[in-house]
């Protein structure tokens, strides 16, 4: 019976539930579901960087923005159909992610965290000041995506996000079950030992940065149309904090953790709407309480109560 509560069946039933959701949900819930898929893609990417490779880099919010901007610019300025603009967003973020990786390779720990937070703020500054390209503070308005299906395009976009989200979970799981995943964890655990096994630090770290940048870019490309407006303030420090909270609250170094973190925090953020002006107190308090009582995140709970929950390269125990 225990076989049922292992990743694949649980993930499939969740995917089926998500696919059936639009049938009985209103537009608001569909939007929140769409947002959750986008943030799952983001947290998977960030988890690859933070959780598996141990790189304390917070550039994903900026790359999320770059993906959104690239998709918006491709559609509005060059008339490229969404089907091509979305991957373009991913590639733009990938390119910037790799370029940012080069100087970041020399930094570790707190230095890397502070440098990447500064890069995130710098990116927002560029979004707001590079008027000819990014439209400055008023940003770029994106028309809805003409999918040509019946029913509201948002429901169709919901399924596109769902499909890409499922694909990214599968791809992440595949990568973790290959030498690439093992080289990420090797670097996190001990760089000198990893090098001793012929793992090239520069190439592997750049791959980790590039991969998480691609995830962030695609997520940005999916995010832009549901907002119909791409503006700098959507990708500022708060975005960095929310994504960071998702990965830590969900549980570092675990695919289930990334999914729990994204869905959990999106749900909580919407639930906090009821607290009106107290939203900041509730949001800050919620993060503090979760971290105090679940230092190794929701995935940590999974480890405690479902020891035989087998995931590729799942992080065990509290890291150093």
């Amino acid at each position: 019976m225990l076989k049922l509560i292992s990743p694949v069946p649980v993930f499939c039933s969740a995917a089926i539930f998500a696919a059936a959701l639009p049938a009985f949900a209103n537009q608001y819930t569909i939007f929140v579901g769409n947002l959750a898929f986008i943030y799952i893609i983001l947290t998977l990417g960030l988890n690859l960087l933070l959780g598996y490779t141990g790189l304390l880099a917070f550039v994903n919010a900026a790359l999320f923005g770059i993906g959104a901007y690239a998709t918006a610019i491709a559609r509005t300025k060059f008339g490229i159909p969404y089907g091509f603009a979305l991957p373009l967003g991913g590639l733009a973020a990938l390119a910037v992610g790799v370029v940012v990786a080069l100087p970041a390779l020399r930094l570790t720990g707190l230095y890397l965290a502070l440098a990447s937070i500064s890069f995130a703020q710098f990116a927002v500054w560029v979004f707001a000041h590079w008027d000819p390209v990014t439209g400055g503070p008023t940003g770029i308005r994106m028309a809805a995506v003409a999918y040509g299906f019946s029913g509201s395009w948002e429901t169709v976009h919901y399924y596109v996000s769902l499909a890409i989200c499922i694909a990214s979970v599968v791809v992440t799981s595949n990568i973790l079950r290959s030498r690439v995943g093992r080289s990420f964890v090797a670097i996190r655990e001990s760089e000198v030992a990893a090098e001793g096994l012929a793992i090239d630090l520069t190439r592997t770290k750049t791959t980790a940065y590039g991969l998480s940048a691609l995830y962030a870019g695609i997520a940005g490309g999916l995010f832009a149309p549901i907002l119909t407006l791409v503006v700098p303030e959507s990708y500022d420090l708060f975005q960095v904090i929310v994504q960071f909270a998702m990965v830590v609250v969900g549980g570092l170094g675990s695919i289930a953790g990334a999914i729990f973190g994204a869905v959990g925090l999106i749900g909580v953020q919407e639930a906090l709407r009821a607290t009106k002006e107290l939203q900041e107190i509730a949001f800050g308090g919620m993060i503090l309480l979760t971290v105090l009582f679940l230092p190794s995140g929701l995935a940590g709970l999974l480890r405690k109560y479902l020891p035989e929950w087998r995931e590729p390269l799942r992080r065990r125990g509290d890291d150093r």
Binding site: Q27, E233, K276
Partner: protein, 388 residues
């Protein structure tokens, strides 16, 4: 294993495409209640643009409810926070429309957030009376369901430019912030300057929350500008005025709608005479103006911890406008009947120096502004401008 997942996804995709539930009688209206949604910024740095205005609106609604409501219906005003961000505005709007199922939306603070929520509201075909967003695209081209009781961005800067010229300015400089609020004013300002073939002698930027503005003040001084148009929030304007006074540079300064609380500004600069040549426009009268004393008490009653500010007056005026429209729409209140009532309505409010009049072809219902300056330690209204 991977193939199995893809098959499941495809099956669900086909199965999931059902249609929505059946439509109901007029949404958000019952015999005893009208449910109005407020979409806007309640938290974060720009919360006055939303929360404080809605305190004003709700004070008006509470008074009306206390007096028996409108045609026997009391108004319930439910607020959703968009943190002045598009990615929060869209879910907030959807929640109001699809979960709370409000009759109409009365709100809208930050321009970008309102612009992001606009398609959602337009698609739902529900009336939207905007309280503070100034982006021109909201009411131009005209949408039958969307009205605004707030000056459009370009009107403010048009008024500021005109005021500077009236005060005899020859060389005009601009100091602006770099955010959506300022951008919706700054770009039209450049156009109206070009229309009058005036080129700004300096065009400087200041962060919305600066601790020091000496560098900007120096640049303005070296540009030789005799008048400065400020597209700034109050904190930036206060720091700028202090630092300009500090370096002995005293041009005419014409501030925008957010800087109308001159007394607070004078108090925090604390240097006598630093605001002598400073004028600020506001869509509202001054909070200490005797004609709004009644509303000062009303707001005090409902929100004791708030200090009465110009932001409250934005809400009071828009609240009174809304009450008049609801009364005019009559007993059988529908979204269409309200829209019709709104499209041809003229309302006087104690909070505004000019009337709010909407025409079927112009839903920019408010076009006046008042000018304030500090004369002998007291804030005086020194002029009113009505734009066409």
């Amino acid at each position: 294993m991977k193939r199995r997942i893809l098959d499941l996804g495809a099956l669900a995709l086909v199965g999931g495409l059902f249609l929505q539930g059946p439509a109901k009688a007029e949404v958000g209206v019952t015999d005893t209640e009208i449910l109005i949604g407020a979409l806007g910024v309640l938290t974060g740095p720009l919360y006055h643009n939303g929360k404080t205005i809605y305190d004003g609106v709700e004070s008006v609604y509470n008074e009306v409810n206390a007096a028996g409501g409108i045609h026997g219906r009391k108004i319930r005003y439910v607020r959703e926070d968009d943190v002045c961000k598009p990615d929060q505005a869209v879910p907030a709007a959807k929640k109001l429309i699809h979960e709370h199922k409000v009759f109409m939306i009365h709100g809208g603070g930050c321009s970008n957030a309102s612009l992001a929520a606009m398609p959602e509201i337009v698609q739902a075909k529900i009336p939207w009376v905007i309280t503070a967003s100034t982006a021109p695209q909201l009411t131009d081209p005209v949408n039958p369901m969307i009205f605004t009781t707030m000056l459009a961005g370009w009107m403010e800067t048009e008024g500021q430019l005109q005021r500077a010229i009236d005060l005899g300015a020859k060389k005009i400089a601009i100091v602006k912030q770099k955010d959506a609020w300022a951008d919706s004013r700054y770009k039209p300002l450049l156009d109206s300057m070009k229309a009058r073939n005036i080129t700004p002698v300096a065009d400087e930027e200041l962060s919305p929350d600066p601790t020091d503005a000496t560098a900007v003040a120096l640049k303005l001084k070296t540009s030789g500008a005799d008048a400065v148009i400020g597209v700034l929030f109050p904190k930036a304007a206060t720091v700028l005025m202090r630092d300009m006074y500090k370096i002995g540079y005293r041009p005419i300064v014409v501030g925008g709608s957010a800087i109308s609380d001159l007394k607070a500004m004078d108090q925090s600069i604390g240097i006598a005479g630093s605001l002598d040549k400073f004028e600020a426009l506001a869509p509202t009268k001054h909070p200490d103006d005797p004609s709004v004393a009644k509303w000062k008490d009303v707001v005090k009653k409902h929100y004791p911890s708030d200090t009465f500010m110009t932001w409250h007056l934005f809400g009071v005026a828009s609240g009174e406008f809304m009450v008049a429209a609801l009364k005019k729409a009559g007993k059988d209140l529908t979204r269409e009947s309200l829209a019709k009532a709104l499209s041809d309505l003229s309302v006087e409010s104690a909070a505004y120096p000019g009337p709010m009049t909407c025409k079927p072809d112009n839903h920019q219902c408010y076009r006046s502004m008042a000018w304030f300056s500090l004369r002998g330690g007291e804030v005086k209204q020194v002029g009113v401008t009505h734009l066409k």
